[in-house]
């Protein structure tokens, strides 16, 4: 059967003037909705002297105040459990997810209604169909299926597409690799790091995934590595498959960018459902095509928790749609998400903020000094180790502390495994001013290859 190359040919190839008219119309309606129903947004709009009626052109977008993660967290802290950002009765929700917060143990908690949850899958449909997933495919999800939103939307997307979905939750890497081969899986969804881990395990088992499996598409998400040329090459050679990058956020519920099957070296922005601004992080002024800036996103999807001019701190470089030969009129983030403008670290798909780690570490009075050490194991897996110095006289607490601290940190970070390592007293640097307790020892990504 001959399929369209696009999930939504009408909007994916829409002239940009029409696309922008559509964005303006949706922006007005979403701002109207947020102003009427979300105390959080009404308060912010009023404080900034903004009213949705002021939106006459797309340039008026800049009248809308930015929304920050810190404000959202403050709202959750002041109005547990979800803050006063929600627009409707929580009984309308059918789904709950969370992402780790910027400080302490309080996560960002999100709710979705039936329509929102289906929209989340719909955004993945744009991406996965665009990369070539079809009803004939068997799609394997190497994913934990927990409160972390991860590939949940992609799972339902593949059911919607009509592909055979094989959920690979709660299994060992060995079992997953064997299942991928046995079931004749054609598409694997995974973080880039875990895709390399599976490949390594396959080698140990004497399995050559490039020859012994039918996998021809590898869909990556959760880490920037899917668009880093060296990692992408390594993945494509290891699996004998095309590797496509996607990126999303729990704050939006789903992906906002995807790599199409033409693999232009970047990711198309789903511009009929989002406005993606790229701004100078210091001044808040727009930067042009080809310049690095901070992504600021407005979503037209999740009405339960509107995300309007949300500052993501993601580092991106926008280039015109014409950079790609696929025919879409949607602009591209060259190299996908390239990094962060703040100190957030992404470890195996989980957000880690050093100040959130510190606030938990400081709950243990036996710890004198500590260091957050991020490293790459066997050139494949990102690891996070908390090196701690125990105060003299508290040494007997070490074993209990090691266990409890690892558990507390994991609980505040969607189950992420933290290694807790004790070092001799006086080994770590001690600070009087401007403490620098984070060491990221991972290799730096190169994009110009």
């Amino acid at each position: 059967m001959a399929y369209s190359e696009y999930w939504n040919p009408k909007n994916e190839t829409m002239p940009r003037e029409e696309l922008q008219a559509l964005q303006l119309l949706k922006l007005r309606r979403m701002c109207d909705w947020a102003y009427a129903k979300s105390p959080f947004h009404r308060r912010k709009f009023d404080a900034a002297g903004f009213h949705p009626e002021q939106l006459k052109t797309l340039d008026d977008l800049r009248r809308i105040p930015f929304m920050t993660r810190e404000e959202w967290m403050e709202s959750i802290f002041n109005t547990p459990m979800f803050g006063d950002i929600t627009t409707t009765d929580h009984n309308h929700a059918i789904r709950y997810h969370l992402t780790s917060g910027t400080s302490g143990r309080t996560p960002i908690r999100v709710l979705d209604g039936t329509k929102d949850w289906d929209w989340i899958a719909e955004m993945w449909c744009y991406g996965l169909w665009g990369f070539g997933v079809r009803p004939e495919d068997s799609v394997y999800f190497a994913f934990g299926y927990g409160s972390f939103i991860g590939f949940w939307g992609a799972h339902y997307c593949c059911e919607k597409i009509g592909a055979l979905v094989i959920p690979g939750g709660a299994q060992t890497t060995e079992a997953r690799v064997k299942q991928i081969v046995e079931m004749g899986v054609t598409t694997v969804c995974s973080t880039p790091t875990y895709a390399l881990t599976m490949w390594q395990k396959a080698r140990e088992l004497g399995i050559d995934l490039a020859k012994d499996s039918k996998v021809n598409k590898l869909i990556c998400s959760g880490e920037p590595a899917g668009s880093i040329p060296a990692v992408k090459r390594q993945l494509e050679e290891a699996w004998g498959a095309k590797c496509g990058d996607t990126a999303g956020m729990t704050e939006l519920g789903t992906i906002m960018i995807f790599e199409c099957s033409h693999q232009p070296g970047g990711t198309h922005i789903i511009e009929d459902n989002y406005i993606e601004e790229v701004l100078d992080p210091a001044t808040g002024e727009p930067v042009g095509y080809g310049e690095l800036g901070e992504r600021v996103v407005t979503s037209f999807g999740r009405g339960f928790i509107p995300a309007i001019r949300y500052r993501t701190k993601d580092m991106v470089m926008k280039v015109p749609a014409s950079t790609c030969s696929c025919g879409r009129t949607w602009d591209i983030y060259d190299g996908g998400i390239r990094g962060r403008w703040d100190d957030m670290k992404l470890i195996r798909g989980t957000n880690v903020y050093p100040r959130a780690v510190e606030s938990i570490v400081r709950e243990y009075p036996a710890i004198d000094e500590f260091q957050i050490y991020i490293w790459r194991k066997d050139t494949l897996t990102d690891e996070i180790t908390i090196k701690v110095e125990i105060k003299p006289g508290f040494e007997s607490q070490w074993e209990t502390l090691q266990r409890d601290l690892a558990k507390d940190l994991a609980n505040a970070h969607e189950g992420l495994r933290f290694n807790i390592e004790r070092v001799d007293y006086g080994v770590l640097p001690h600070f009087e001013l401007k403490a620098k307790r984070l060491v990221d020892a991972r290799p730096v990504a190169q994009y110009n290859q």
Binding site: N8, K10, N11, E18, A21, L22, L25, K26, R29, W33, T87, T88, D89, H92, G113, T114, K115, W117, D118, W119, E122, D272, F300, G303, F304
Partner: protein, 70 residues
């Protein structure tokens, strides 16, 4: 059933688009009824959520459905 004859950008609806919008409106009307048995009420809402995607994708409507529990 629906009074709209254009999409959100003011373009005339095709026959197919008009049919889609009619189905969407019919589902909304059903979802508003409060005497449906659970098997109907919940499946209508599932169907309405799906039709919201199709009609929103084609720029036929852009609205929220929480008042229908969707």
């Amino acid at each position: 059933m629906t009074t709209s004859t254009t999409d959100l950008l003011g373009k005339p609806l095709t026959e197919q688009e008009q049919e889609l919008l009619n189905v969407y409106d019919a589902l909304k009307k059903l979802a508003a009824q409060d005497d449906l048995p659970p098997c109907v009420a919940r499946n209508v809402r599932q169907a309405l959520a799906s039709m919201w995607q199709a009609t929103n994708d084609l720029d036929l409507q852009f609205e929220q459905l929480y008042e229908y529990g969707v």
